[in-house]
């Protein structure tokens, strides 16, 4: 019994391995949620709205002409800001 069990236990993915993988994923996810509570992501919509207001003082643009995007690259977080200006003849000033 013991002999065969020992070898049999080696090829199907062991339940402990499955447990570890599942935990690594859920724990990483929950940590991110916890740390996100008072930083980065939740200020993005407000930032976008305020930027839109500032730009509109000078140029008439639609909501979708401003894009704010936060990307993670290794240890860095990159805040990407994209403003699409309309054709020169449509400008208000």
């Amino acid at each position: 019994m013991g002999f065969f069990n020992y070898f049999r236990a080696t090829y199907p993915p062991k339940t402990a391995t499955v447990a570890k993988e599942r935990l690594q994923i859920i724990v990483a996810h929950e940590r991110k949620q916890r740390s996100g509570q008072n930083s980065t992501l939740d200020y993005l919509p407000l930032l976008q709205k305020e930027l839109l207001e500032v730009v509109r003082k000078y140029v008439a643009i639609a909501d979708e002409h401003i894009k704010v995007n936060l990307e993670k690259e290794g240890d860095y977080e990159i805040l990407e800001l994209n403003i699409t200006l309309p054709d020169p003849d449509n400008r208000s000033t």
């Binding site: 013991g2 080696t10 402990a16 447990a19 570890k20 935990l23 690594q24 724990v27 929950e30």
Partner: protein, 268 residues
């Protein structure tokens, strides 16, 4: 300087009370003035595990409310010099432990004891927060099992945000992982998370591993902290944990299966 140590886990029934009793007894056996406090309001159990349930007169909440003084509430252990127990209240009112009240009691205890061990209730509510709030160090009791590991991670998050040290921007609570109910045999057959697995996931230093052992139930049946049972492997493991906590070099004896490769191969 007195040290306040919380024994916490998030998940219930993983061995916090067993650990609090064993660890406090171990520290007292080393000659340290030690008090162990039951924070589990409404579900007092530490007194039973310590075998002093019939000597409870006043409790933690009585002291906070001024209905009895601290000296009347502290129960001196009859077996180990320098070991005291402060029992929890059986009141249904979970908010009976106020921050101010706990702070006041801690201040007095800090003058008299070297180690103050706080046995946390399960969960992440008021009682668990009160137990961890004043802590300098934390024993995070974890079983090698998915829900316990996940809950421990949440508790680690709370230690770094909801404690006095976090709120006042002091150096963080020092965290120690304590894996309990560990079966190296099941780890070897691949159906239990290993100490290394859990340590990697939680990413805090491993203080020790307590094996799954029949002697734990026997000890609690008798009201004897398991560290007083010389024949118990769990008791020995807890004594090792105490030694390591006190800064002594002490190899991990309970992570590896005692049986060798061949007995694993051919034996049961």
């Amino acid at each position: 300087m007195a040290k306040i140590i919380v024994v916490t886990s998030g998940k219930g029934g993983v061995g916090k009370t067993t650990t609090s009793a064993a660890f406090a007894t171990g520290l007292a056996l080393r000659g340290h003035q030690t008090v162990v406090i039951d924070f589990d309001v409404g579900l007092r159990n530490l007194d039973l595990v310590m075998g002093c349930e019939r000597r409870v007169v006043y409790d933690f909440v009585n002291v906070i409310n001024g209905e009895g003084n601290l000296n009347q509430a502290l129960i001196k252990d009859k077996r180990v010099e320098s070991l005291f127990i402060l029992p929890a209240s059986q009141t249904r009112d979970k908010e009976a432990l106020t921050m101010k009240g706990v702070a006041k009691v801690m201040e007095v205890l800090k003058k008299r004891f070297e180690y103050i061990i706080c046995d946390s209730p399960a969960g992440i509510e008021h009682g668990a927060i009160m137990a961890m709030y004043f802590a300098d160090e934390a024993l995070i009791v974890t079983n090698p099992e998915v829900s316990s590991v996940r809950d421990s991670d949440r508790i680690i998050g709370m230690l770094s945000s909801k404690t006095r040290r976090a709120v006042q921007n002091l150096p963080p609570v020092k965290e120690h992982l304590l894996l309990t109910r560990y079966s190296s045999k099941r780890v070897n057959t691949g159906d239990m998370l290993s100490a290394q697995d859990v340590q990697e996931i939680l990413a805090i230093p491993l203080l020790g591993v307590i094996p799954e052992s029949k002697s734990v139930l026997q000890a609690s049946n008798a009201g004897i902290p398991v560290t007083l049972d010389k024949n118990s492997n769990a008791g020995q493991a807890y004594l090792d944990v105490v030694a390591r906590f006190l800064g002594e070099e002490c190899p991990q004896r309970f992570i590896e299966d005692k049986k060798g490769f061949f007995s694993r191969l051919f034996g049961s």
